[in-house]
Symmetry: C2
């Protein structure tokens, strides 16, 4: 499978990924190489990954507890200190082996340790493969506010090893699939049609490749998210708020990122029908596909108020306005849409009565 | 006074600085403007600064406690949260009004808040004017390790208002003067000769301009510190270790940055005489000038061991080697010099017996 070249680095796949890694490690004299894992990727992926690295590397292993609740500054402090204690210097390398928490947080830790050391991302979840591989976003949460602290910085390379998908359960696979479905909604009706009938996760190598290509095309045209790149936020404005609200709530079960943005895409699909002309049949298609794949949630009035109160912290906002990405039709987005406040309640009502 | 153009922004002086600021604030639509101060700059500089801004700005004031001991991640968390609470968004601006702690820490907070917002530095100490104005280094300390966490990122502009020097006491002025003397030692014997007889801080506008010009010339030639820029670290490898050691020690009085690197320059001057041919007369000149300006310290064997144990964390190191900048003669530095371990004891002995 060909590699995909982004602004400043390449995304490599499967055997080509290991070859590229080994070429890079041979060509670059790193003083020390660290691998960041959580307990899951330590158990399921680390040995396999190390087995594929040629040469006699004395990897330093950094381990954190898995889960979005660990994507915090205190975890960063733990890792900055571990790097210091492990004698990491400016010529060291950090390999982030894990899901989006590991690649987002590890990328931020590397980008800020001694004002920046090199890092390589090896996403092991479907979500991280299709979403976090391209774009250079790193960051951590600040209390309930997602990715409030971070930088844009590029890894040396990204390695997508689809073999690691076998370590995931169905729920995690579905979570990643939501971002792929989003790529169809914002960029390609044909891709959406291909994905929506794919219930068995078949042909994943090619579908992942297509998703990375779609995201890369968007990011290359607008690296700093001035205009086009905003379309990647479809479903995320409300989806992030839903995700944050559930993460903080003691009473509610935490949602996976894909589960939250699936809800966000139904809600923002409804707003699209109301405001930007998304045909009702397409809205029904979107709702049906997402409700078939993802668990239904009930939102009380209290929940809705709590979720809306988190909206103002979304990073896509400026000057006090909340800007949404909506759809004119599937594959055809509109950016910077303002939403009359009363529509939010109707969107949640539409979701609740589904 | 002409402005100095760096890689991506300008350093403006005095009235021209205020003019440039007002032009910038008129031309750019910021959603909100925050000013970061400590209790000193809030009392001594803030009103004067605000008086010079035209237009009706509703500045958000962020205040931290002064001092190097505050240059930490917990202070960053306090500021990231204050920005969130103050509804800062990606189109907001942070103006850092203060010494090096404020500009280093405020620059880091701005560079990482929502993956980066704009910031302007207004250094109010001599040290920050001549050292922190150029180069884009931001960062905070991690325990005893100085600037261990940070990024390289450029402000929108830097405003040097020499009027603010009147708010400083003699000790703070001397601290900044140490960096200016360093600029002479690494780049211009003539500048060193001009400065060394200047005991009354006269003609400071021009001398500051010369220092910023020297640093800017170096940084422009090597923005990422691969080679030439390393010369700016003269006196800092041992000086940082001395500074960190005193900062952590309960028994010893904390040194100002310039006081610590003045000691570092005597120590590294001694190493230069031993290893790179610095003439003994020039070493004596360096020692005399620094001892006349800065308080003498006594280093016990315990102190020296503690200081040397901090050396390995210096950011300039790689592959386990400690690289020093030494001098062949005043104005003529050499980079990447390795030091035989036994010389450190002799360098401290030279300082102690002075």
């Amino acid at each position: 499978m060909d590699s995909i070249t982004t602004s400043s680095y390449a995304v490599h796949f499967n055997q080509r990924a290991y070859d590229a890694l080994n070429e890079h490690l041979t060509a670059t004299t790193y003083s020390k190489i660290f691998i960041l894992v959580d307990e899951n990727t330590k158990r399921d992926c680390l040995d396999d990954f190390k087995k594929h690295t040629l040469g006699n590397f004395d990897f330093g292993i950094l381990e954190i507890v898995s889960g979005e609740s660990q994507k915090t500054i205190p975890t960063c402090i733990q890792l900055w200190e571990a790097l210091s204690d492990g004698d990491a210097d400016r010529k060291s390398l950090l390999i982030n082996l894990g899901g989006g928490v590991i690649t987002d947080l590890g990328g931020f830790v590397a980008s800020t340790f001694k004002r920046g050391i090199a890092f390589i991302n090896v996403p092991t979840t479907l979500l991280a493969m299709v979403d976090a591989s391209v774009g250079g976003k790193t960051g951590v949460d600040l209390g309930p506010l997602k990715n409030q602290v971070g930088v844009i910085n590029q890894p040396e390379m990204v390695l997508i090893i689809s073999e690691f998908l076998t370590t995931l359960d169905q729920r995690q696979l579905q979570s990643g699939f939501a971002e792929m479905l989003k790529h169809g909604l914002i960029r390609s009706a044909a891709y959406w049609d291909t994905l929506k009938t794919n219930t068995g996760f078949t042909n994943m190598d090619h579908l992942i490749y297509d998703s990375v290509t779609i995201k890369n095309d968007v990011v290359l045209q607008d690296p700093t998210e001035q205009h086009l790149r905003k379309i990647l936020n479809f479903g995320h404005t409300l989806g992030h708020a839903v995700e944050s609200y559930f993460l903080e709530s003691k009473a509610r079960k935490t949602l996976l990122h894909g589960e939250a943005i699936a809800i966000g895409m139904i809600l923002e699909g409804y707003l699209s029908k109301e405001l930007t002309g998304l045909p009702e049949t397409e809205l029904e298609d979107i709702k049906t596909i997402f409700l078939n794949r993802y668990p239904k949630t009930e939102f009380s009035e209290t929940d809705i108020a709590g979720i809306l109160s988190l909206l103002k912290f979304d990073k896509k906002n400026s000057h006090g306005n909340i800007n949404f990405v909506l759809l004119k039709k599937i594959g055809d987005p509109v950016i910077d849409v303002k939403i009359p406040h009363e529509l939010f309640g109707r969107a949640f009502a539409y979701y609740n009565r589904s």
